[in-house]
């Protein structure tokens, strides 16, 4: 053993039983081609999707493939969606003020089945109506943000149908409710 002053070592009172290690990892995605087209369409005020030519399922945002029929999809399978539809299911979220939570009052997240050719949007806001009036079957239409205020920066491969940078939400149209039978197999 060498007789040197070791300034990096401090004698502790007790053995080490726990240590902290803080880490963060930063990932950056390249937006995939079908989602890029979805973003471009949103900026124009359009909702697009891909429809499988075999099972006819509608994928919004477009995936680039149909997992049911295991075929690749591209622009040729692209369709334009309606921006109105029917609330099929919803939940009311009462926000807890955790870090990053921007909401302060209870709000709705609804699943909306768009009118033909179809397509299901999940986690959509329903606006211009008291929360206790939101119900399955309610007819709604998209409230687009003004064109120069639309922001698609948050839309990437992992964002699903989070559209709040482009849509203010969906508001009731006042039309008669859609009968439950028409969407009971599409409740998400």
């Amino acid at each position: 053993m060498t007789d040197t002053a070791d300034t990096d070592t401090v004698q502790g009172d007790e053995p080490v039983t726990m240590m902290e290690y803080f880490m963060s990892l930063r990932y950056s995605d390249v937006v995939s081609p079908p989602v890029m087209r979805f973003r471009d369409a949103l900026l124009e005020g359009r909702l697009i999707a891909q429809q499988c030519p075999i099972c006819k399922l509608v994928y919004v945002p477009p995936k680039g493939y149909c997992p049911i029929d295991t075929i690749e999809l591209d622009e040729r399978n692209e369709i334009q969606l309606a921006d109105r539809g029917t609330v099929t299911n919803f939940t009311v979220v009462t926000p807890v003020q955790y870090y990053g939570q921007k909401e302060t009052e209870p709000f709705v997240r609804a699943s909306i089945l768009l009118d033909p050719p179809g397509g299901m949007l999940i986690l959509q806001d329903v606006v211009d109506v008291p929360i206790d009036e939101v119900r399955p079957g309610m007819r709604v239409e998209a409230v687009w943000a003004p064109k120069d205020e639309r922001d698609v920066d948050e839309i990437g491969n992992r964002s699903g149908s989070a559209l709040d940078g482009s849509l203010r939400g969906f508001r009731p149209t006042g039309e008669p409710d859609t009968p439950a039978d028409a969407f009971s197999d599409k409740v998400w």
Binding site: L25, D29, E72
Partner: protein
């Protein structure tokens, strides 16, 4: 261990490796799985078992491995499993599963999208969390320690390392899936600066996004659908101590044990596809497997030409199978590795009829 029940590779496919794929992992898996199934002539719905290898940390997406199943066709539900390892270990699990005899085919795939994250920060997280992870010991730095140990032991020279890189990149010119290819002069490579001494850029694998898929079949099924199957004559994997300071980094005991158990030395090998992700690891692996100068090493360009983490080992087995199915060879070996500095190794010996 030596194969109990005959199992063969009857289909394989790979993605073209890219530094930064614009497609998502599922999107670039799609054509790979479709192509492997097509080659095997096994209808998708008849596949008895599916096993995948991938790592959610790479792309930083929770349950990415579940999403990858969308490329398989998992509805109606299928029988499947996943290993948080290179797809070569998924192949091992599928091979074990086929020993049960109640199914006759299996689909195996490995995929990885390394480009979204910082590999030098992600990989230290697989080290022990008390003494090594906080040091930020990344794969290139620790490989440099291994390279230095090898140079000091006189087992390799920097020139030999550069020659391995030049040969790999030249061979990779014929590989449509490779990422780093070309004709390079050894002296010019040696004139390049060190990245982490004694490693230069050519000693280090590229960062790759890629995937590989393989279809396995039992003997009866393989003979029914395939003219020239690549038979798995032996497959084995061994692991060494997690702490790299506890082993001699200039040799690979686990590769030697796995190779011996798989029968690598029991008859001459014609072609070897080795997961030597750093140039200096090639001589370590050749020594461990008893491969002499007469063996063609990594005719695909190997892991130095493309390193799709979680798929690169399975791709070596697929390339070794290709040497039998398409290349007319009689006996080849595929090798996969996991962990830092060849900590864990899998050896798969393949033969023609």
């Amino acid at each position: 261990m030596a194969a109990l029940k005959d199992v063969a590779i009857i289909g394989y496919a790979q993605a073209r490796n890219e530094r930064r794929a614009q497609a998502t992992e599922v999107q670039f898996l799609f054509p790979v799985i479709n192509e492997a199934l097509e080659m095997s002539k096994i209808p998708r719905r008849e596949i008895g078992f599916t096993c995948a290898g991938s790592c959610d940390y790479l792309s930083g997406q929770t349950f990415a491995f579940v999403m990858n199943l969308e490329a398989v066709g998992a509805w109606p539900p299928i029988s499947e499993s996943h290993v948080e390892m290179d797809g070569a270990w998924a192949l091992y699990e599928a091979w074990v599963r086929l020993q049960h005899e109640d199914i006759d085919t299996a689909l195996v795939f490995g995929s990885g999208k390394s480009s979204p994250g910082p590999p030098a920060e992600i990989f230290p997280l697989q080290m022990d969390p008390y003494t090594l992870t906080p040091l930020g010991l990344d794969p290139v730095s620790i490989a440099a320690i291994q390279g230095r140990a090898l140079l000091d032991a006189g087992k390799v020279t920097e020139r030999q390392m550069a020659e391995i890189a030049a040969r790999s990149r030249r061979d990779a010119m014929k590989n449509p899936y490779a990422q780093v290819t070309g004709d390079f002069d050894v002296d010019e490579l040696l004139a390049q600066p060190y990245i982490a001494a004694p490693l230069r850029m050519h000693d280090i694998p590229p960062i790759s996004d890629g995937a590989c898929a393989v279809v396995l079949a039992t003997a009866e099924k393989a003979r029914e659908v395939c003219e020239r199957p690549a038979w798995i004559r032996g497959i084995d994997h061994r692991i060494e101590a997690h702490q790299p300071g506890m082993r001699d980094l200039t040799t690979s005991v686990s590769t030697r044990l796995a190779g011996d158990a798989a029968g690598a030395r029991s008859a001459p090998i014609e072609v070897a596809e080795l997961s030597a992700t750093f140039t200096h690891q090639e001589p370590i692996l050749c020594e461990a497997l008893g491969l002499g100068d007469d063996v063609a090493i990594n005719p695909s360009g190997g892991a130095l030409a493309a390193n799709p983490v979680m798929a690169v080992g399975l791709a070596r087995i697929a390339e070794a199978a290709k040497q039998i199915v398409e290349g007319g060879h009689g006996r080849t070996v595929g090798h996969a590795t996991s962990g830092m500095c060849l900590q864990q190794n899998l050896v798969c010996v393949l033969e023609s009829d």
